[in-house]
């Protein structure tokens, strides 16, 4: 199951040129970019690992794209996303965030139903990937 989240989530995956165009849009707006990765794709997992610090004072998308590619090299079986922060609100505000890399195969989610009192049902999403320990989730599947 293809995981969608962030901006452009219903578009096909962006190519590197399209990613560069989005980065340069963000940089023109004065939004510093940062790269994050994870192998826990649960939609409520908002704390992805940071790939280095956010990149400030950049003018050209080449620098950000370079970091994305390095992260892809280091974590070919993780999800990688790009965030652009808009600091003009005086707090950390993500203005743009989209997935730039995904593992080759994505097993998707299982729905767990838990019966509680009064025949109520609680539903939870369980990514199949998280059955395996962190770091090995998408590697050999």
């Amino acid at each position: 199951m293809r995981i969608t989240q962030g901006t452009f989530s219903y578009l096909p995956d962006l190519t590197d040129e399209e990613i560069a165009a989005q980065i340069s849009y963000a940089l023109e707006r004065g939004w510093p970019c940062s790269v994050e990765f994870t192998d826990d794709p649960h939609p409520r997992n908002s704390y992805w690992e940071m790939w280095g610090l956010p990149m400030f004072d950049l003018k050209d998308p080449a620098g950000v794209l370079q970091e994305i590619n390095e992260c892809r090299k280091a974590y070919p079986n993780h999800y990688i996303r790009l965030n652009a922060y808009d600091a003009s609100y005086g707090r950390q505000t993500i203005a743009l965030s989209f997935i730039v890399h995904r593992p080759p195969s994505e097993p998707g989610f299982r729905i767990d139903r838990q019966e509680t009192s009064d025949r109520r049902v609680r539903v939870s999403l369980h990514p199949y990937a998280t059955d395996r320990p962190e770091g090995e989730r998408y590697g050999d599947s």
Binding site: Y25, R29, M55, D60, A62, G63, Q66, S88, Y89
Partner: protein, 323 residues
């Protein structure tokens, strides 16, 4: 609920977005018998070169080389339109020359020129020294250097006093690490940035002799000659004019004599010394006007008198050391 207000409620933060760049027309090589007017193509480039000529006094060899580089890039662009691929020229440069000969100024112009010629994408200049590249402890240098390189991408990286990167006396100096990363980027990321090293001639030479890899990756070694007395005077006039001052007719020979004496003294820094001389003359000019009191007119506020220069230490005694 008639309108969906959730979307588009955020006002644009940085004003309206810039109009999108017109899409590049589909590439189609010109027929082999087509003719291109280089002059038309080079009009905007000539504008910068002319500005360079009029703003910077002297520096003939530098200007010649810059014209050559501009011509090469123009021709390359014309060749590309015919579908001839000549590869990207190597444009890393090394500026050598005495203090105050305009190395930084030219680097700034260079960034703009390369941007106009479409060689670099943004045309900004990132000016750094050893401190910005070399870390203080193990493992600090590489991220620091990479950070700077990322910032410079799409523009020109200007490394002032580049020879400080390499300290021969300390073989465990982290500068070596920065040099290695630089070399790698200069070789592999030529599309993304142009590196300009600058420094004094003799020290740059010894830097290159201990880093032969660096020397061979730099195509253009440009030497900035010291200014002659006439050129210094022209520079002084240009500076005065820009700051809204003029020399009184009787002050002109004094100013010339000042430059002549100052040139022979130690720690003479070419255009920088001229600027400092003018700054001090402005101070004396202001002091003189205030001390005199009374009414002043536009003319007095603008004119520097011989006294403003004669009070200088340079005139005190010929052998005196001036700062």
């Amino acid at each position: 609920m008639t309108e969906r207000m959730e979307f588009g409620m955020r006002p644009p933060a940085g004003g309206p977005a810039e109009p999108p760049q017109p899409a590049e027309p589909a590439f189609e090589p010109l027929p082999p018998d087509a003719r291109i007017d280089l002059a038309e193509d080079g009009a905007q480039v000539n504008e910068i070169l002319d500005a360079l000529d009029s703003d910077l006094v002297g520096l003939a060899p530098v200007k010649t080389r810059i014209r050559e580089i501009a011509a090469l890039l123009l021709v390359d662009r014309a060749r590309a339109r015919f579908g001839i691929d000549s590869g990207r020229p190597n444009l890393h440069m090394c500026f050598t020359g005495g203090p105050g000969t305009g190395k930084t100024t030219v680097a700034m112009r260079m960034a703009e020129l390369l941007h106009r010629l479409g060689y670099v994408r943004k045309g900004h200049l990132v000016s750094v020294t050893r401190d910005d590249l070399v870390g203080q402890y193990v493992g600090h240098t590489a991220p620091k250097t990479k950070e700077v390189l990322k910032r410079a991408m799409g523009g020109v990286l200007f490394i002032d006093e580049a020879y400080y990167l390499y300290r021969a006396e300390n073989e465990r100096d982290y500068g070596q690490e920065a040099i290695e990363i630089l070399l790698q980027v200069m070789e592999n990321r030529r599309d993304d940035l142009v590196v300009v090293l600058a420094g004094y001639k003799d020290r740059m030479d010894s830097f290159f002799s201990s880093n032969p890899g660096m020397s061979s990756r730099i195509a253009h070694h440009i030497h900035f000659p010291d200014y002659t007395a006439e050129e210094l005077e022209a520079i002084g006039r240009l500076m005065l004019e820009r700051q809204g001052y003029a020399l009184a007719p009787e002050a002109e020979p004094v100013f010339r004599e000042y430059l002549r004496r100052r040139r022979t003294q130690p720690r003479f820094a070419n255009a920088r010394s001229v600027r400092n001389a003018i700054e001090r003359a402005r101070l004396r000019h202001a002091g003189r006007l205030v001390a005199r009191g009374g009414l002043v007119g536009r003319q007095e506020l603008m004119t520097l008198h011989p006294d403003d220069f004669l009070a200088s230490r340079v005139f005190a005694e010929p052998a005196a050391q001036a700062g």
